[in-house]
Every structure is written in C-alpha cells, then in structure tokens.
Assembly symmetry: C2
Homo-oligomer: 134 residues x 2
C-alpha cells in the first residue's frame, strides 16, 4: 500500500473545488452534477475515485451520516453534524463539541482515540425557527 505520486488532473481539481466551495455537504452524485457544468464529459466513477482520494489525502471528509448515501465535507476539522428530520439538510455542529467529547472520553475511559463521529437528528436552524417564513 505504497503512496503513489499524485498528479494534478483537471478532474481532481474540479472535484476538490466543488466540495470546498459549498457548505451543503454534497453527495457524490451532487458533486458530479456540479462538476459536469465545467466538464461535461467527466464520469461518475472519476468523481467517486477523486472524492475517495481527496478524503484519504485529508483534504476533505467523507461522511457516513446513517443516511443512504455518503456525503462529503470541504473541511478537515473534526466536527459533528446535524441531519434535519424535516428537510434533510446537513448542518455542522461546533468543533468544540467534538473536542469536549474527546477530552471527556480520554478522562473517563482512559483510552486512545482515533476519530469521533457525532451525528444528531433534529431540526436544522432554518426549520426550527423559520416555520412561518415559509
């Protein structure tokens, strides 16, 4: 499993930009749709390959939120997510929350930890205070 030398393909750049430039936590299919506007011949397989590669490289996060599809996140800081039960939107939770879980667990369990995956379901900001506006 040696680290290959990565080249800089147009496709990979576009995929990275697409994920970085949105805060909606797109799925592979959604990234595909975005990227296709710049490069109509890109294939879905290439999008998947690059998303996985970029996640391995630590440039983006691959999120398994317990919903059907994987989502991708343009940041690489550890933070949880809220999945809205009303509209399906995905909202970032403050990093501080993950950090405090980490420290609590290190104290209480006295165990090395790798990653923390925190997902909560509930109403997003929009849905919880915007009922009448819509």
């Amino acid at each position: 499993m040696a680290e290959n030398i990565r080249r800089n393909s147009k496709q990979r750049q576009l995929v990275l930009e697409a994920v970085k430039s949105t805060c909606t936590h797109p799925t592979a299919e959604e990234v595909f749709q975005i990227v296709r506007q710049q490069n109509p011949t890109i294939s879905l397989g290439t999008v998947y390959r690059n998303l996985n590669l970029l996640a391995e490289m630590g440039l983006i996060l691959k999120l398994d939120l317990g919903v059907e599809r994987d989502h991708f996140d343009g940041t690489n800081e550890e933070h949880g997510h809220l999945v809205c039960t009303r509209c399906g939107a995905i909202e970032d939770l403050p990093c501080a929350l993950s950090a405090s879980i980490r420290s609590t667990m290190e104290h209480e369990l006295d165990r090395q930890m790798d990653s923390i995956y925190l997902t909560v379901t509930g109403l997003c900001k929009e849905c919880s205070c915007g009922h009448m506006k819509q």
Copy 2:
C-alpha cells in the same frame, strides 16, 4: 403508513433472542448464522425483515457505524459505540456520555434533538491493555 397488527412468529422470536442475548452487536448475517442453529430453514430475508421490524418497534437498535454493514444492538437506551481499529470489536460507550452531549447541545444550540449517534474509533478495552496477554 398504518401500523399493522404484529403476529408472533417463531422466526421473529428467535431473531429477537439472538440479538438480546449477545453483546457483540451482530450484523444481519451473524444473526442469521445464530438463528439458523435453532431453525435451519430460516432465510436471510426474513432475518432482515425482522431486524428492521424490531428496530422500528423500538425493541432493538439498528447501528450504522460507518463500516460496511449495519449492526444490531439488543438495548434501546441511547449510547455511543467504540469501533476497535485493531480487532474490529464494537464496544458500548456509557449512556452518560450521550446524555451529556444531549444536555450540552440543548443548552448551546437551543434546538430540539431526536437521536444522537456517537461513534468513536480507537482501541477496545481488550486491545488497549491486553497486548502482552495475547
């Protein structure tokens, strides 16, 4: 989506017992293997159907831990899980941790919450202190 009246099939009983009587958080396939010892003609499809049904009924938990397969948990109290990066074992985290996340979030975010899914990766109890024993 009316609630059907549930019958009490032998298969469903066996599936429930299988999940309840272990703390290993089995996959559907593993439940299938266990149940097959009592009922060699049960089908994997039936196991899946009953696992989902029992989870809907709130008798067990369906866990998406970010690994390939879903796992099932015989308890119904809200608690997180640790997935061991060395042996793959799944360990329960104290319920108190999820409870404290819930209260923190209710204070900080002032938002209704449905469920909390907390998964951490790291070494399980066995792997973190039992290196020499093995």
